[in-house]
Amino acid sequence: MTDGRTTRVATSVTPGGEPAGPPRTYGSIVWGQLKKRPSAMVSLAFIVLLALAAILAPFIGGEVPIRWVEGGEASWPIFRCLTNGEYVAMVAFLLGALLPITIRLVRPGAEQVGASPMLRALAIHAAVLAVVAGLLFGMREPERSYGFYLERADEAETAWFPLIAYPRNPGFSELPFKEQPPSWLGWLAPESYPPGSWAHPLGTGRIGDDVLIRILYGARTALNIGFVAVGISLAIGVLLGAISGNFGGWVDLVLMRVAEIVMSIPRLILIIIMITVIPERWIPPIWTVVLVLGVTGWTGTYRLMRAELFRIRGEDYMTAARALGVRTGRLLIRHAIPNGLAPILVGATFGIAGAVFLEVTLAFLGLVQTPSWGMMLNDGRQHLEYWWLWVTSGSAIFLTVFAYNLLGEGIRDAIDPRLRI
């Protein structure tokens, strides 16, 4: 990392010693490097699109119409049926996308008082999200009846259905459509679809369920697990690592032993035990998985952060900060941790890929009854001739994990000064 600093001096200061252009933060330099790596950018785009599709799943496939006009009366049923969680996710995505604009808006005001525009914008967005979430969960009750819109489609003057107008949870009426190949390959099953139909772009499953809809809802599970589990383990790992590396001595000794004990726990088996032991009405199994993954997955982050702190605590700027009278907590959080976060980011990206894999494994073993790619893969395993079942879910798993790994590798290269391009 020391190399990194000197290289940055060389890249951003012209020979005359005058700074080139506006202040460049470490983040903006890494982002600039990342942008030059096509594989990382494609992966990032894939992940963002996947997240967007997962959030907007009810608009892509489902039985609740977006607009419904019956007897001259227009309504927007889907907005009554979306859950509060779905609304919060949409707002969060929107706020994330709007972050660069907010940063630009608050920049003049923040610079007036020397605050970081990025942190201000983040704080504003976090506050907005918190208010929205609070209002939604406090005041809104989503409609649970789906109103049999699909069956009554003829009664409406206008009915705008999602792209795939098909029930998310199929009943008896859908059973005849089970195990149909992708509909655009209509010539494979001419008795079911006219050739070129887009009714079920990825085919149907064992109970007549639409595969694309299941892929989308499975993506929700995969992304959720990845982000939340890695978020928990990051928080634990960074904090304990910083404490361990900064104080050393017996604190480090004890924490390192704890980490070694946690490392030696077989996670899969622990998860299986926890799912069995904890009653479903206390914590749904999927959250048990997230919790166990988070609480056992911090050791890698911990060891990285600890090693970073061993380096950082000897740096002159730490002594300088101490000589200024900065107290230990602030010294750690404000001065030490930001200097050691870069390698953590890489670990986190790979961590998400790992968590997705584990969740899929659990679902494949049938331990979690949440819509999941792993469960679909298991369905497909039993009927290999229905290839669209395992090809789609397998590809989804492969592409997502691959994208996270490529992105992680891209970030790692971007923060490595020896690989600057």
Partner: protein
């Protein structure tokens, strides 16, 4: 730089700091005593590893513990003993009443914050100003230390500045709260000669301006001559000679001090430089008696090896710890060199 008052701001008494490592006890600072007058400058001079920096860190109680520990002594700032102050009160002293600048301007600024942020942090830590007012004072301070266009450079990151500029920022950070004492640990060692002169001028001007005291730590006798009124020479953790600057330069009484002066080039004597023979022993194994005896040309091999000479006042404000200080004076009066060239 005239001393308006002669009362003492900082009094260090018998300060002893040791490092307890697995290889043994390192005696970094042994029974060091000196005083810094209000508004005055005292220099600590010596080779690398002689305990200058540890002395400074001990005053601020920043010696890394473990392995280091201040085992004895007292540091009185205006009558309060800093070594017995509770942690919170000590934090209020650091950066506020006593601040410190470091040798390496390249590494002593935090790379992830703008320089403005770092000056502001010092202000926010010790004063009640709000951010807007703090920003204004930061700009003022940066202008005072000679940073051109401070409103703009405030938002730059350390890596965008040259070494000299960064050292100016360090000075701004340490002076923004108006400390009574500034500890400058080799403030110019890492800089170009021309920049060195600028920084020293700046420090002198600011000192006169703010009326603070300075403890200057350096191995560069040229810097000492330019900055300090009073000098203490350290060898292996102990002060071996202490005098006013003129006196020390004209009549050094310790063989080590003589050697230090002889090993720097001058334009008058364009002859080979004399070096002090041998190496500085490890502070883990300090020689018996006078710790300089293994390298000293005047060592008598008996008393020097057995007994440690005390720091004795020879004449007005000139103390030396040597059994043979009189012979040093004799040799000089005969116009001979103590060391072979």
């Amino acid at each position: 730089m005239t001393e308006t008052t002669t009362d003492t701001l900082l009094a260090v008494n018998g300060l002893t700091t040791r490092f307890f490592t697995e290889e043994g006890v390192s005696r970094a600072v042994e029974e060091v005593s000196f005083q810094i007058p209000r508004g005055g400058t005292v220099a600590l001079v010596g080779e690398s590893g002689c305990g200058k920096t540890v002395t400074a860190l001990s005053i601020l109680r920043l010696v890394p513990d473990p392995p280091g520990r201040i085992v004895a002594g007292a540091v009185h700032l205006d009558g309060t003993d800093l070594l017995t102050l509770p942690g919170d009160a000590m934090r209020r002293v650091r950066g506020n009443r006593i601040s410190m600048i470091f040798q390496e301007p390249m590494t002593s600024l935090n790379p992830v914050f703008t320089v403005g942020d770092q000056v502001l942090e010092a202000l926010l830590l010790h004063t009640d100003v709000d951010r807007a007012e703090g920003r204004r004072r930061t700009v003022d301070m940066l202008r005072k230390v000679g940073i051109p266009d401070p409103e703009r450079r405030l938002d730059e990151y350390p890596h965008q500045m040259s070494g000299g500029m960064r050292q100016r920022v360090m000075i701004a950070i340490s002076l923004v709260c108006g400390p009574e004492l500034l500890i400058a640990d080799e403030p110019t060692t890492a800089l170009d000669v021309t920049i060195q002169a600028q920084i020293l001028d700046l420090l002198r001007d600011l000192q006169a301006d703010l009326g603070m005291s300075v403890l200057l730590i350096t191995h560069d006798l040229g810097v000492v001559a330019e900055m300090a009124r009073h000098v203490a020479v350290m060898y292996l953790g102990r002060i071996v000679e202490e005098a006013d600057i003129r006196d020390l330069f004209d009549r050094p009484l310790h063989p080590y001090t003589v050697g230090l002066f002889r090993s720097r080039p001058t334009l008058q004597h364009r002859e080979r430089l004399a070096s002090i023979p041998g190496l500085v022993p490890s502070p883990m194994a300090v020689p018996s008696g006078c710790s300089f005896h293994p390298r000293c040309p005047l060592s008598d091999g008996e008393r020097c090896v057995r007994e440690r000479p005390p720091l004795e006042t020879k004449h007005a404000a000139h103390s030396v710890a040597c059994w043979h200080a009189d012979r040093v004076a004799e040799v000089r009066d005969r116009g001979e060199g103590l060391y072979e060239t």
